[in-house]
Amino acid sequence: AQSVTQPDIHITVSEGASLELRCNYSYGATPYLFWYVQSPGQGLQLLLKYFSGDTLVQGIKGFEAEFKRSQSSFNLRKPSVHWSDAAEYFCAVEGLGAGGTSYGKLTFGQGTILTVHP
C-alpha cells in the first residue's frame, strides 16, 4: 500500500530564512506528487504538483519542490520565508493503477506545521 511520511511534525524558522520540508513516499511506481497548504479555517490549497518531466517543479507563492526517484522524496523548499507562510503543509501522492489510470485517491502525509518568527 502506498504511504507518505513527513518526518517533521513542527518546524520553526525566522522570517527571511530558507525552508525545506521533507516528504518521502512508498509506492511501487512513480506516483503523482503534490504539496498542499492549509491555513487555519481554510481548505487545502495546492502549492505545486509533479506528474513527469523536469524533476524541479515551481509552484505558487515562491515554493519549489524536487522529485528524487532514488530517494523516493519530494521535498518542498522556499529560499526566503515570509510570515504569511505560517500554516500546515501536506505532501500527498496519487497512485496510478494498472495502465497508468487513477480515480484520484490522494494519500496524505501527517502534515508539517510551520511557525515563522519575526
Partner: protein, 113 residues
C-alpha cells in the same frame, strides 16, 4: 475564481443521528471526492465519485456512509447513524479531468456528542 463550497461549516449532532454534509463542486468538474481529517491525524480518503457512481472507496467508508449527487450542482455525504469517532473535519474536493488538480472546499467540522 471558481471554488468548492461546503455547508455547514460546523455541525454538532448527537450519537446515532443522521447527518448530511453538503458540497457544491466547481461547476464543470466531473470527479468528486470526500476526505476526512480527525483532529491531530492525517487527511484520509473516503470515496471518489464519477459518472454518478462510486469509483473507489476506503475501508472507512462502510455501510453507514453514502454519497449522492442529487442534482447537477450538489454532492452530499450522508452518515446514517453517527458515532463519536465520526467527529472530524470533512473535506469535499472536485476535479475536471482524471489527471488534474483536486480543488478542496473549506471543510465541515462535524462534532458528534
Amino acid at each position: 475564481e471558481p471554488e468548492v463550497t461546503q455547508t455547514p461549516s460546523h455541525q454538532v449532532t448527537q450519537m446515532g443521528q443522521e447527518v448530511i454534509l453538503r458540497c457544491v463542486p466547481i461547476s464543470n468538474h466531473l470527479y468528486f471526492y470526500w476526505y476526512r481529517q480527525i483532529l491531530g491525524q492525517k487527511v484520509e480518503f473516503l470515496v471518489s465519485f464519477y459518472n454518478n457512481e462510486i469509483s473507489e472507496k476506503s475501508e472507512i467508508f462502510d455501510d453507514q456512509f453514502s454519497v449522492e449527487r442529487p442534482d447537477g450542482s450538489n454532492f452530499t455525504l450522508k452518515i446514517r447513524s453517527t458515532k463519536l469517532e465520526d467527529s472530524a473535519m470533512y473535506f469535499c474536493a472536485s476535479r475536471l479531468t482524471r489527471g488534474g488538480e483536486q480543488y478542496f472546499g473549506p471543510g465541515t467540522r462535524l462534532t458528534v456528542t
